[in-house]
């Protein structure tokens, strides 16, 4: 819409659209390693249910996902696949990097085959530390992301400006 690009969206409409976006995230769980099990506990277990936050797991493909949660060690061999799947997601898309391996290489920081952090490949919005982070930690990361989305400036994202978090 022309209103979004030019930044002339009225405030109530922006906040309505932001609210609807943050409570209808479809999370693509990219589980690589041990953090995938904790992510599975958060997403699929009845105890740490992520659906109560409005986030639904298990989209059929990355083309239908809003949010990708990269959990686990990223190796150099895996990087082309991550890049490709990130590019398949439609905008607006968000990335959560879960676990210390995805944040910075983690316990394998000196390995010859591990990428030291997934933010070398794709831009990350939220980092969830831990090895592995508890499911509650991932839920807190999602809540923080929702707060961030709520304050987002849609025009900046449309134009490609760097996002400034207030």
């Amino acid at each position: 819409m022309g209103l979004v690009e030019s930044g002339k969206m009225p405030k109530p409409l922006t906040s309505l659209l932001n609210t609807s976006r943050k409570y209808s995230l479809w999370i693509f769980q990219w589980g690589l390693a041990c953090c995938a099990i904790e992510m599975g506990s958060a997403l699929a277990s009845p105890r740490y249910d992520v659906m109560r936050l409005g986030v639904i797991p298990l989209p059929a493909s990355p083309r239908q996902a809003d949010l990708v949660c990269i959990s686990g060690t990223v190796t150099d061999k895996m990087v082309p696949a991550i890049r490709r799947l990130y590019e398949q997601m439609p905008d607006p898309k968000y990335v959560i990097s879960m676990g210390s391996c995805a944040n910075c290489g983690g316990p394998y920081w000196d390995s010859y085959s591990v990428t030291k952090g997934v933010d070398q490949v794709i831009p990350v919005d939220i980092y969830v530390p831990g090895c592995p982070p508890r499911p509650e930690a991932l839920l807190e990361g999602i809540v923080l992301l929702q707060e961030r989305i709520g304050k987002e400036d849609m025009a900046a994202r449309w134009k490609g400006d760097p996002l400034v978090v207030s």
Binding site: K77, G105, W109, D110, S111, Y112, S113, K116
Partner: protein, 222 residues
């Protein structure tokens, strides 16, 4: 370099008849090819053979001795690491790197050794077979006709050490991407992240539980 011919049965009081019988049968079948043995009585058995009898040793182990379960095949690089072990404090002077190659049980003459472990369910024993690989010709015959499961193990040894296996149908990298250069498990392959940012050394030593008297607390389940 350690000596070539070490037949070392330990001087413990117990003798291990089952394992000595295995050594006897191997020596009977392979003769001069058994160049080193080592027995831990009641525990384990290591046998080193010559390079040209590697496959026959596998066949003897499997057919005659009944070691039908294949555990693994891998290699060891006996060169001490020229980069040290990064265990020292960064403020001290680095220690002198050792350059002498000292091999392990059942001896060895070369820097690289390929070793394999097989198991026998009937005898409830395992056997570790070792073979020397000379530096100028890093290759050995494949064990594929003997144990089918050795396929991927040999591919892994190829990419990690650079030892080729003659007769393997396709030797490709198993783990590493195609453009990877070098053989990581060799001791002279550096871990670059450690050179860019050195490990701060041993900083935390956790106190032993008995030192603090924690075992006497009341919150312990009986």
């Amino acid at each position: 370099m350690s000596s070539a011919d070490t037949t070392d049965t330990t001087t413990a009081t117990a003798t291990d008849e089952a394992r000595e019988e295995i050594v006897a049968i191997l020596t009977e079948e392979l003769g001069e090819a058994v160049v080193g043995t080592h027995i831990h009585p009641g525990d384990d058995l290591w046998v080193r053979v010559t390079r040209d009898t590697w496959r026959e040793a596998g066949i003897v182990a499997r057919e005659r001795l009944g070691f039908r379960a294949f555990e693994f095949l891998s290699a060891i690089d006996w060169l001490p690491s020229p980069f040290g072990k990064n265990e020292d404090s960064p403020t001290d002077a680095p220690p002198e790197p050792k350059t002498e190659i000292v091999t392990g049980y059942a001896g060895g003459d070369t820097r690289f050794q390929v070793f394999a472990r097989v198991h026998s369910h009937s005898r409830k024993l395992g056997l570790t077979l070792k073979v020397d690989i000379p530096d100028d010709d890093l290759s050995i015959v494949t064990w594929l006709p003997v144990y089918a499961g050795v396929n991927w193990h040999e591919r892994e040894v190829l990419e990690m050490f650079g030892i080729t296996f003659v007769g393997h149908p396709y030797l490709l990298n198993l783990y590493l991407p195609g453009e990877f250069e070098g053989h990581p498990l060799r001791k002279d392959f550096p871990l670059l992240a450690r050179h860019v940012k050195p490990w701060p050394g041993i900083v935390d030593v956790e106190p032993m539980p008995s030192d603090d008297g924690a075992a006497e607390s009341e919150d312990v389940a009986e």
